[in-house]
Subunit: 443 residues, 2 copies
């Protein structure tokens, strides 16, 4: 039976994990596959750096071309990260008829449609289990395990850095800056954490999950994104007082006509499974119209969890190769997915519950003025905390409230009007809430 | 392209769900598959019973043979349940070269090796996502998503009936009998609940999960089983006081040499994700040597969740059929799995933490006598609750304790000896604890 040969581009953290699994588990993997799975070549510009795995020198090359040009290599694993030259390498690999495994969510979110179209035209596959939630088998769940479902809604804690920071802020009352420093010290955040903390990485991953959930083109532009870098620990404390936890959620919901597509800090009831997802852990909570609610939880990053996902993809592609079944499952789960689009619900049309915090001058009548404006916009208050004489910044006291369901456009207009009151000190703070009980209470 | 034809044996609850999905989602499923997926025939002895789905009369037949004999039918879905005649039907279907989907865990646990061997010999596939945890995609996760991992340990809440009963007992202080009656009233328990409450159904499912986790033969006999029907609500309350919840867990753990295989009521720390799994929900928590800890959570039973899993299997087999790739993934994830066995660790060799409850006569020195015997067997106490004058049954007071790690044989010997003391009223109650913190404390 034919041996399957694998070439790895990028010998960094994840690359080292993949190489370790392919070398150390060669026998087990070959037993699963029924034929020999061989690590043929590893390319990295820097071959001198120490790595947590030892490889025979002859496997190493500083030139990606040595892998792309090798007609013997069946599967190319792209672990370089970033957009360039990863995109060029993938297109070249596809053009040479090689199957590709990647963990590169940014590349997929930005150029996935082009790459998948090229792969389909060439009859090769692109697999990307490792691009979302590291070791959690969410991609295979959506492409196969839940293939009989229409995904009605999906909530993801998709970025371990953000979740670690939020957990530190929530559990230890740290400021954002302190928590970020902790995350950097623990190796969970990079020196420049922008991609993570501004929600961009989460949006990349939501782009991929939405395409799989809906069998439609990747559409990064559709996603409204807000990060966690301006969070005040005060709001995490008030959220707790109301019985919530604050999480950076990726959210998509299908009303049958339009789909929501958003990434932002979100209040989640403390009894919900997503509130139990702490530290650097990741989770996806989704509802299928047949399967009902499903949670998948695990390590979303790190050398070995990500390598676990990469190698499961290698095995899957190798299984298709040995059976001549490339393209058995279309990359986005459906035929013609790349020709399909979903109508996105603009954020202004969103209907949800809100958390508001106002910095009020401590004078009589403030609450009545604020609630008067909310009433004008048909926003009704579900709960309120006003802490009497506790002095906040600039001699103000916080008024914090939870609303029943309201339209985002109305909420924004009301906040704008409230910010103009002389008795409050703008800007008003607001976060969105995902709470099925509050939703139900409104009906 | 060839149309794929499906025949369904058994038009009960799950059968109705499968039929509904195949009829209502035909277009979506065909779009995923790239060819038409057709429900060709449904067999059930009782065609008159009302059902939640309407089907064209000509699809229905009272004779399973009409499906087994039809050369046009590619995939047979066995939803009859029980061992006979399901086994015969499956063997016949296999013999005629048909692929089979089943939700029948009892049949797989008892006759799976024979059925899988027959299927392998004939070059057809048996798929069984629906046999474990209904809508949760655990089988595809083990066969594919986590295929690069050695599964180090796996804990499952695999039976919704038991979990519902335990949740009622724990949250509302109900007796077992009351909680069972509630479960029956809610449709979660059958009139004869034996298979569920005695842990047998859970053992069937653990048999399947172990085979997939270890790539080895199905071995129902290996599993030590204890159910929940003799549980006293008192122990659920004491478990709570110690910071635990009591769950019926399926447990397997691989020490590299031998594997544990057991089903019994187990104390789980209240902060652990498994403790958040309430009501009729199911979950599997496992640790892969690469992926780390993973939790999958969802509805483990019911018409549509189970149908979701069945139809995902139909789609998977259909994808193999259209690509001529039958046997792409061996049924137990590995080649030669049916020739492999794992050495089982006898329960006597188990090393774990224990919960003990003794009914002590309210006299001085009882605790010292009890702890003296425990000390003799090298069992050290981590925590103890002795409620002074609170009278229990027969004029006794409960002494409840949590132990550090001990060998099961020692624990049983110690309990036997304690039961002979004149100051306690036998039998002593004991449950096993799964608590990584307590384990770590011992090292």
């Amino acid at each position: 039976m034919k041996t399957i040969k694998v070439g790895v581009l990028g010998f960094g953290t994840v690359g080292s994990g993949v190489v370790r699994l392919l070398l150390e588990k060669r026998e087990m993997l070959s037993r699963r596959l029924g034929t020999d799975l061989v690590l043929a070549r590893i390319a990295d510009q820097d071959l001198e750096r120490p790595r947590p795995v030892t490889v025979p020198r002859e496997l190493l090359t500083p030139r990606a071309q040595d892998i792309l040009d090798d007609p013997e290599i069946d599967i190319v694993v792209e672990l370089i990260g970033g957009l360039d030259p990863a995109r060029d390498y993938m297109l070249t690999a596809i053009d040479r008829g090689k199957h590709v495994v990647t963990a590169n969510k940014a590349l997929l979110a930005h150029h996935g449609n082009e790459l998948l179209a090229a792969a389909t035209a060439k009859g090769v596959e692109i697999a990307f289990e490792a691009a979302v939630c590291g070791g959690i088998p969410i991609i295979v769940a959506l492409r196969q395990g839940l293939a009989a479902n229409r995904i009605q809604e999906l909530f993801g804690i998709l970025n371990g850095t953000c979740n670690f920071i939020l957990t530190q802020m929530s559990q230890h009352g740290m400021s954002y800056a302190q928590a970020l420093a902790e995350a950097q010290a623990a190796g969970y955040a990079e020196a420049d954490p922008t991609l993570d903390v501004e929600g961009i990485d989460t949006a990349h991953k939501l782009t991929i999950l939405m395409s799989l959930a809906y069998g439609a083109r990747l559409d990064l532009e559709a996603i409204a994104v807000e990060g966690i870098s301006r969070l005040d620990p005060l709001d995490l404390q008030f959220a707790r007082e109301f019985g919530y936890r604050l999480k950076l959620l990726a959210i998509t919901r299908d009303d049958g006509h339009r789909v929501e597509a958003r990434v932002h800090p979100t209040l989640v009831p403390k009894g919900h499974m997503l509130s139990q997802v702490n530290g650097a852990m990741n989770a996806v909570y989704l509802t299928g119209d047949a399967a009902g609610p499903i949670l998948l939880y695990g390590q979303g990053a790190g050398m070995m969890p990500t390598a676990s996902a990469v190698v499961s993809d290698i095995l899957d592609l190798a299984r298709n190769l040995t059976h001549g079944a490339a393209g058995r499952v279309p990359p986005l789960g459906c035929r013609l997915a790349l020709e399909s689009t979903r109508l996105i619900k603009p954020m202004n049309d969103l209907v949800t519950n809100y958390y508001f915090r106002f910095a009020a001058l401590d004078r009589p009548g403030v609450l009545s003025q604020v609630s008067g404006i909310l009433g004008k916009y048909a926003i009704s208050i579900a709960a309120v905390i006003q802490k009497g004489r506790v002095q906040g910044e600039a001699g103000t006291v916080p008024i914090v409230m939870i609303t029943h369901e309201a339209r985002e456009a109305d909420a924004l207009q009301a906040l704008k009007e409230i910010d103009r009151l002389t008795v409050v000190s703008p800007p008003a703070i607001f976060y969105r809430i995902e709470d099925p009980h509050l939703h139900a209470a409104q009906i």
